[in-house]
């Protein structure tokens, strides 16, 4: 039922201008929940629209289920798509919206009615058949769009920021439902989002895009714990970035950031010259008091966020570090001005490509 999508060397440029998508290679496995994540203008939506057939790649090949579909028109691709603003037909009832794809496939009326009922039941919209889209809430419209896309039993389901217009609570519950639905149907799902939390929460794998190029493809934990590039480390979650010169020996490499700060690096091969490293705030352990550990600083501000506290620590040399401590219920956060020592292990530092 579900299909593998292979994107081979695909580029897209408009009128000879800069490339919106630049030589992308990726393989999306059958039944996988795959996210394209990046800031606006990174090429994620263009990539999705090329898979859907609304844009033609300037170069490269797209294969679905082993078949080259690069030149196949959109209406013959057999893919379901959920559009950003749902794109429900405003002049058609919910039932007619969902039935549309089946009607185009010339399915008999009785079979259409049965399938539509099933699809609407799947998205918990039974009883809304005769409403017009304009009479539904955003969340309900979203479900209709989803039902309309899955009722045709597509090989591939494409979602363009489908949850972007929903409020936070509703978005969270839809995240669970969409993920559940995808697993039940076993369909290959390509999900475009600029929301890194959403991507981390839902995806089997994520491709992080920036300026038309793939920065990294990996599981959510790989992307978060082992970001490959400076961009990924910075874009996904909070991170402390350091840049400096390699010093020390092969057995015990270190990074000299400035006169005040030198970081011990994990042992690695092939390091040389200028290097960037990332350090997640939650890996930084704070101890009140001034001595020991990797660095000393003073609390500049504390941002209480319920489950944890995010501290901004001033180091010597006008440098700042973010540190996140779990709220263990031991009382008020450390006051501004408190001297602290910062600790981490060299393995917490991730070496990043530029």
């Amino acid at each position: 039922m579900s299909a593998r999508i292979e994107i081979v060397g695909v580029s897209k440029s408009y009128d000879g201008a800069a490339r919106a998508v630049d030589d992308i290679h990726m393989t999306i496995e059958p039944g996988e929940f795959f996210s394209l994540l990046g800031p606006s203008g990174c090429g994620k939506t263009t990539t999705l629209r090329m898979i859907a057939g609304f844009e033609m790649p300037s170069e490269g090949i797209i294969r679905v289920g082993g078949q080259d579909i690069t030149r196949v028109p959109a209406h013959k691709r057999d893919m379901g798509m959920v559009f950003q603003n749902y794109a429900l037909f405003p002049h058609r009832t919910v039932r007619e919206n969902v039935a549309f794809g089946l009607r185009m496939r010339k399915m008999p009326r009785a079979a259409i009615a049965k399938k539509v009922d099933e699809a609407l039941a799947m998205v918990a919209l039974t009883g809304f058949e005769d409403r017009m889209p304009g009479q539904l809430s955003g969340g309900q419209q979203q479900r209709v769009a989803l039902a309309r896309a899955i009722v045709i039993e597509p090989r591939v389901l494409l979602c363009d920021e489908p949850l972007g217009a929903l409020d936070k609570k509703l978005r969270q519950s839809m995240q669970f439902e969409l993920k559940q639905l995808q697993k039940t149907l076993g369909v290959t799902l390509v999900f475009v989002t600029h929301d890194q939390e959403e991507a981390l929460a839902m995806s089997d794998r994520i491709a992080v895009l920036s300026r038309g190029k793939v920065e990294q493809v990996g599981t959510p934990t790989e992307i978060y714990d082992r970001p490959a590039t400076r961009f990924v480390a910075d874009f996904i979650g909070e991170t402390n970035l350091f840049r400096g010169e390699l010093v020390g020996t092969d057995g015990a490499p270190a990074l000299r950031v400035d006169g005040h700060l030198t970081l011990a690096l994990p042992a690695a091969d092939g390091l040389s010259g200028a290097i960037s490293v990332g350090l997640r705030p939650e890996k930084v352990r704070l101890t009140p008091g001034g001595a020991g550990a990797q660095a000393q600083g003073t609390v500049e501000s504390a941002n209480f966020q319920g489950g944890h506290v995010l501290y901004r620590i001033a180091l010597a040399g006008n440098r700042h570090v973010l540190a996140q401590s779990p709220n263990d219920g031991s009382g008020a956060p450390l006051a501004a001005g408190t001297p602290v020592s910062l600790g981490w292990t060299p393995a917490d530092l991730v070496i990043l490509k530029d």
């Binding site: 209406h75 013959k76 379901g80 559009f83 405003p90 009832t93 185009m104 045709i152």
Partner: protein, 295 residues
């Protein structure tokens, strides 16, 4: 002044200002629209002009004359037929262009198209009609080319074809501008969604964009139809009095026969006729696009 009173005062002031702003247009319509139509309605039931004739009496003889003579039905039908041809032709010619203008990505191309559509409107109707006459008359440009190519000359004007051609040329911009506004507001992604669900581009257009543009088709057609059946200059010049329409007949009754009562009765017939057709057209299109019986 407290904030609460300011908030209470604001909408009342706004409503007053709006009312004041509406006053000129209300006066304009009362003086130049309702009053003349009312006067025309009254005149159509009088034996003569009460301003110059002291002993006028009420009569229905103008309407009896229209009903008794099949000639007037023929004129009515000709007028409506020319209106219908003009409307259909303008719709068929205008829709593709309006669609292109609404969907074109390049701003400069859009501006160019808009200019091309509006440009003819900068020339007067009489001038444009004379230009058509130079092209279409028996010894005009079109026939000379036909003859040079070895074809027999054709009668291209002094008939309904010539009138419709002239009217389409004049009223096409109204159709295009009305349609462009409506089509431009239809989300392109709806057609893409239809294609994604398996509809060919043509099918997607027919299923989505066309039914959603019905309000524009309705508005544009009504506008063109109303303008075409009340047109006067073009039917006279392009028809050369060979084709009689209601506006020409009315003009003749006033200027040549001085029969203002009969002219007023014909005017009322034209008004009622177009109102009935407008209502019927509205009704039919609303039923067709009733949006659910299509599925």
């Amino acid at each position: 002044m407290s904030r609460a009173s300011a908030r209470l005062g604001a909408p009342r002031l706004g409503a007053n200002v709006m009312g004041l702003a509406l006053l000129p247009s209300a006066l304009f319509f009362a003086l130049f629209f309702f009053l003349p139509i009312g006067l025309m309605a009254v005149m159509s039931f009088l034996t003569g002009n009460p301003v110059v004739m002291p002993n006028v009496v009420a009569t229905t003889r103008h309407y009896e004359r229209i009903l008794d003579d099949p000639y007037y039905f023929e004129v009515m039908w000709t007028t409506v037929r020319i209106g219908l041809y003009t409307t259909v032709a303008a719709l068929l010619l205008g829709y593709p262009l309006a669609h292109l203008m609404a969907r074109v990505k390049s701003r400069s191309l859009h501006a160019l198209l808009l200019m091309a559509v509006l440009m003819p409107m900068l020339t007067g109707i009489v001038v444009r009609t004379f230009a058509w006459m130079a092209i279409l008359s028996d010894k005009g440009v079109a026939n000379q080319i036909l003859q040079a190519l070895g074809f027999a000359p054709m009668q291209l004007m002094y008939n309904e074809f010539g009138i419709v051609l002239g009217l389409v040329h004049i009223y096409l911009p109204f159709m295009i501008l009305t349609l462009t506004g409506v089509i431009g507001r239809i989300d392109e992604r709806l057609e893409q969604a239809a294609q994604n669900l398996g509809a060919s581009p043509l099918k997607a257009f027919c299923e989505v964009t066309l039914p959603l543009s019905v309000p524009g088709i309705l508005a544009g057609s009504l506008l063109v139809f109303a303008l075409a059946i009340s047109a006067y200059v073009t039917p006279i010049l392009m028809g050369g009095f060979q084709i009689m329409t209601l506006p020409i007949l009315i003009y003749q009754q006033i200027s040549a026969n001085f029969n203002i009562g009969f002219a007023a009765a014909l005017g009322m017939v034209l008004l009622v006729l177009s109102m009935v057709l407008v209502l019927a057209y509205n009704h039919i299109l609303a039923a067709v696009s009733g949006q659910r019986d299509l599925a």
